[in-house]
Amino acid sequence: MIEMLKRGSVALLVTVLLTACGTTVKRIDANETVDLSGAWNDSDSRMVAEEMIQDALSRPWISQFSAKSGHVPAVIVGTVRNLSHEHINVNTFVADMSRALVNSGMVDFVASSQERNEIREERKDQDLNAAENTRNAAGQERGADFMLKGEINTIIDAESNEQVRYYQVDLTMVSLADNRKVWLGQKKIKKFVKNSKLRY
């Protein structure tokens, strides 16, 4: 009996050790927050987008513009500068915001300057190659009424193996007609990160 227990224990130990060596993959919900390093991650991006969308849609700039002009405002995404301590992909939350605003039906988004060049090339190609009744003419582009600009800033305070990471995202909607800032959105995120002093 004792022999069997011993053999079983050794087998279990070997199994545990071998299991520990392999790569494991676990699928998780896209909305689940997993903080690994303390750096900017998908959850921060999502939180910023949600906050900004809610704020942008609840402010009077859309209704005021629509009432005055008779159509929904067209917005173009300008530069969102990353002035933080990290290489952050700002496109993720800008894309989230654009999608939510367009889907709300209260705002139109027009293509950015880079995207426009590609579309104009395609239009030129249509002029040469597409059937006449399917061609899209040049000079019919919708001009934007507002430009969305912004920046991400950070303050890092570190001592030994502890860090406080403060992120501030500021977005501004600027009227292209008269340079008025019609909406200012801001989201702050603060994290306390403590790294282990020991590793295996």
């Binding site: 022999e3 011993k6 053999r7 500068r81 990353n82 002035l83 933080s84 301590h85 990290e86 290489h87 950070t154 890092i156 570190a158 193996n161 790294n195 282990s196 002093k197 020991l198 590793r199 295996y200």
Partner: protein
Amino acid sequence: MPAGIRLAMFDRQTVGTWLAHMLERQTMTSSELSLRISILRTLLVLCCLMLGACALGPRQVSAVAHQLPTIGAERALLALQKIEPKQQDLAQYLLDAGVLKQLNGDLAGSNADLQTAKGIMASLQAASVSENLGALTVNETFRSYAGSPSERVLVHYLLALNYLQLGDLDGARVEMLQADVTMKAVADTDSLRGQLASVNFLSGVVYELNDEFDNAMISYRRALGIMDARQQPIPVALQDSLLQISQRQGMLDEYQQYTKRFSRQARLLQPGDRELLVFYADGNVTSKQQHTIPIFSPQHRAYISLALPYYPANNYRPRPLILSLAGQSYYTEVIENIEQLARKDLADQLPVITATTLARAAIKYQAVRAAQNDNNGLNAMLLNIGMLISEQADLRSWNILPSSLQVARIPIAADVDLSQVAWPAGRSVVSLADFVFNRGRNKALVLVSSNLEREVSQSK
């Protein structure tokens, strides 16, 4: 006695009991026990021999670094890519690969390698129990390579230059902010450990290109403070930066101090003038070597040998990049002497390395003595050989790095035709056009060059 030492001495009874348990036996005859201990010791010797081979990768990397000036960056990269780094040497390998890719013009590839190396070095700042135990009992190469304080800061410098060349000013700014955090993390109250004038100067330039003149001034002041503390001559580029920004920002008292100290006024650009910011890398830093020092141990009444790293004597003399513009010659000047920095970093680390080496030598000596006491001459001899072979100094360093970093700020009058300028080989006015950033009425041009890059393109 600590557990590690007891283990290293291979206490006969402990090992015998352990073997008996492993073989599910309650008792074991004396001859069986001796045989198994012999097997175990032989295995240990083999382990030591294999561990001796662990230093092979870093030695191969050092050989590539040594050959770089003669074979050029392209062939050096091919040679490096044939080496398979061990996990604990990965950061060193990637740092070297990152520089070689930069020299070969593969800036995206260079960024990928340097970013990975940076992440590895950051994750290795926590002390490892197993690596320290390995370093204490076998040799220093058991520790994962985490870079010296200067290397951890310099990686941001190289990345920022890559981002500038890619036209990504925000990316360069991120690296400079990270460099600031790293410099604070490695700072020591009694020394200038990890504080680099070159990185602060580049920070100043990046802030200036971003129109953040207050931040630029802070960085230039720091660069000046570091160079003063190191009693180094202040390059004209840094003098110009301090004069120009202090005057621009209306810091009149400070401006007067600089005019007095540098004996000249700020050199202001006229509308339409351009300014060429040159970041030049000269030479290739010396690699570490090993020397063995026999030391008499009064405690053991025997000589024990210590394997320690050192930098061989080097008579490096910085060579400037000379640029001829509109009939006038301009020279780059040294802002960071990496040769000296590397030696200083090693000198700072040497007391800890020596203490660990001494402790390890004592442990190994005890192990051999224990084998001799067993009256097993063959085992003792094999163990002795194994211990000697495994005793190797850690010669790893970021050894594909320039010997010096040099800078220059060169005004280019509006009427000078850039296509008529004799740019360094490997650089042309076309590639420079990518680095132009708008700066009000003037434009800044950034030129990143290396003597290794030049020599390669000249040899083609």
